[in-house]
């Protein structure tokens, strides 16, 4: 399952991811795709949305849990092992890091660095290599023509953790979408995977 090449690993137990974004950015789809990828890995997986105001542009949260045993828990994820932030403009409006575990992963869709975003306090030793920005919107736009960052962010997540492999992410994308839509999003996910694995960024 782990892809090696410096992949950080997580303990073989429940893994909880929270996705923050805005209506129209595919936040719910991101959580669903992650659950599909985890299921393809042979894990138990549960994805569910937290519908607030169902409006374009309004803050939206979705959740995904994975585990090696059946998941009975149905509460929203208050203490995530990973937060995926699809829209950095939420950083100042929503408590996106609320409850993040000490070793929790942070993945932000931004071309700026963590320091440039004013989030240096997230860079604790326990989170070494686990707090990353990826220009997922730009990578998505280059491949799909639209800046919907969800697939690319999942590619980046698979590069950071070994919860799901890049192959499973791409399989999930192909399972959910068809034709060019699937191919271009899978390519964006691959680009983001490479971006995170490649230690030197421009």
């Amino acid at each position: 399952m782990a892809k090696g090449g410096g992949a950080l690993t997580v303990a073989p137990q429940m893994f909880q991811a929270r996705v923050h974004g805005r209506g129209g950015q595919g936040v719910v789809t991101a959580a669903e795709l992650l659950s599909l990828a985890a299921f393809a890995e042979g894990l138990e997986a549960q994805a569910f949305p937290s519908f607030g105001s169902e409006r374009m542009g309004a803050p939206v949260v979705a959740f995904c849990r994975t585990d090696t045993k059946p998941i009975r828990l149905r509460e929203p994820i208050a203490e995530p092992d990973a937060v995926i932030i699809q829209d950095p403009t939420l950083l100042h409006h929503v408590d996106v890091f609320g409850g993040l575990t000490e070793t929790g992963y942070v993945l932000i869709n931004s071309a700026r660095s963590i320091e440039e975003l004013g989030l240096a306090e997230l860079l604790t030793p326990a989170r070494a290599g686990r707090v990353v920005t990826v220009p997922a919107g730009e990578l998505a736009r280059a491949r799909t023509g639209r800046p919907i960052p969800n697939a690319a962010l999942l590619g980046a997540l698979s590069a950071m953790t070994s919860v799901v492999s890049q192959d499973s992410i791409e399989a999930a994308i192909h399972g959910r979408f068809k034709g060019k839509m699937a191919d271009s999003n899978a390519a964006a996910a691959r680009d983001a995977f490479d971006y995170v694995r490649e230690p030197v960024h421009a």
Partner: protein, 417 residues
């Protein structure tokens, strides 16, 4: 084969395998994904020999279902919340006529204040409409209950509601086993209606019945539901034998046999509570949880037997009988009448408020210490209540509570931003 699926898609595919001949529906959140998927299956031909009727309201949805079922068609619909209320009159007609319609209720709160999120106010408000009401603890059980519902409905000629938590289940992606067509066919068999409207052999159904026989007709409806108390466990056992899974029955139990404290729940909150109860058991606490599947008919005798060894019973419910307290609790209390077992009501999860382990743990600790009041509102924001009561007492034109509270907790601003 297990698939990772949205609950609603699983329901639609399972209902399709029950081979309904008429589906009439009006979309309402959070049920919409189910009927959308069924309409696509009818159009694509994946669901054969079925007419999908897109009506203009829930009243029409149930009226079409009544007409279709009366002509001998296996009939299905789905609704939620205000939609269920809008079909209220027709619900009583369907049960009074003894028509075996199956309906999914994707449980959602009822306004006002308008709220699209999950609680059980909708189905609970229709608890006396003569339908069997089954509650699913998870999505797999929701799927499996639909197959059992068609069997029960047709065996007794009575309509059945399968209640599943809106969003929490309908919109959750999780691994699901879609029952195989051959297995569903073998389990259900063809629909053999007890009454059929047929132009070649005309009969009247729905005649006026006066005081001379109304009681007897009603009593027969009651007998059917009492028969369901015997049939529901049999159908569940038959299902387990054929499909290899537990689903349905009157209720299921976790650690209740020797438990001093038994928590009774309906629906998807069972999963979270089961996790908490397992943890408490590991720490040596004497607690168990009972997941009620059949609310109508209510298994009074069976519950009494299951609860007889408890020191206290806590019913946690997602609906409020304003002016009284709990709805399910009242039924539980009647099941325990004559015993000295104290009963408690916990009102929780109204309008989509999450029910979390964080507050369940202290709740159960309080209950096990014998310190829970008779009626308790979980996670009630008492500061908000006090402030609003104070505000409303300050004048005569104080305006509506809902908007005032939203302003106070900062969800909307009083002035334009």
């Amino acid at each position: 084969m297990r698939e990772q699926l949205e609950g609603s898609q699983g329901i639609a595919r399972t209902v399709a395998r029950c081979r309904p001949e008429v589906v009439s529906a009006y979309p309402i959140t959070p049920q919409t994904h189910i009927v959308e998927a069924l309409s696509r299956m009818v159009r694509s031909g994946d669901l054969e020999h079925c007419e999908y009727v897109n009506v203009e309201s829930e009243f029409s949805a149930m009226s079409v279902a009544i007409g279709a079922s009366a002509t001998g068609a296996r009939t299905y619909t789905a609704t939620a919340s205000q939609g269920l209320l809008y079909m209220a009159e027709a619900l009583f007609n369907a049960s009074g006529l003894g028509l075996p319609i199956v309906m999914t209720v994707a449980n959602r709160a009822i306004g006002s204040p308008i709220n699209i999120w999950n609680d059980h106010s909708d189905a609970m408000s229709m608890r006396d409409c003569g339908w069997i009401q089954l509650y699913a603890a998870d999505n797999q059980e929701a799927l499996d209950l639909h197959i059992q519902a068609f069997f029960l409905a047709e065996a007794l000629s009575v309509p059945v509601m399968v209640c599943m938590d809106g969003f929490v289940l309908t919109h959750a992606f999780e691994p699901l086993e879609i029952p195989l067509q051959n297995d569903v066919d073998a389990f259900l068999g063809p629909f053999e209606p007890r009454q059929v409207l047929d132009p070649d052999d005309p009969v009247t159904i729905g005649a006026m019945v006066g005081p001379e026989a109304f009681t007897e007709v009603r009593y027969l409806s009651h007998i059917k539901q009492m028969q369901a108390l015997d049939l529901i466990p049999e159908v569940s056992a038959d299902f387990r034998e054929r499909f290899g899974r537990e689903a349905g029955g009157l209720f299921s139990c976790l650690h209740t046999d020797d438990a001093e404290t038994i928590v009774i729940v309906l629906g998807s909150v069972f999963g979270t509570i089961a996790d908490v109860v397992d943890d408490l058991r590991e720490q040596g606490s004497s607690i168990g949880v009972l997941s009620l599947k059949s609310f109508r008919p209510f298994p009074t005798e069976e519950l009494r037997a299951a609860l007889s060894g408890a020191k206290r019973v806590v019913t946690l419910e997602r609906a409020l009988q304003v002016g009284v307290g709990g709805i399910v609790s009242e039924n539980v209390r009647s099941a325990l009448s004559g015993t000295s077992i104290p009963t408690h009501t916990v009102i929780a999860g109204l309008g989509g408020r999450p029910i979390t382990r964080k507050t369940l743990r202290p709740l159960f600790a309080t209950a096990m210490a014998g310190e829970l009041p008779e009626v308790h509102f979980l996670d009630l924001r008492e500061d908000v209540i006090e402030r609003e009561i104070w505000r409303a007492s300050e004048g005569s034109h104080t305006g509506p509570h809902a908007e005032s509270i939203l302003r106070n907790i900062g969800i909307v601003r009083a002035e334009p931003v």
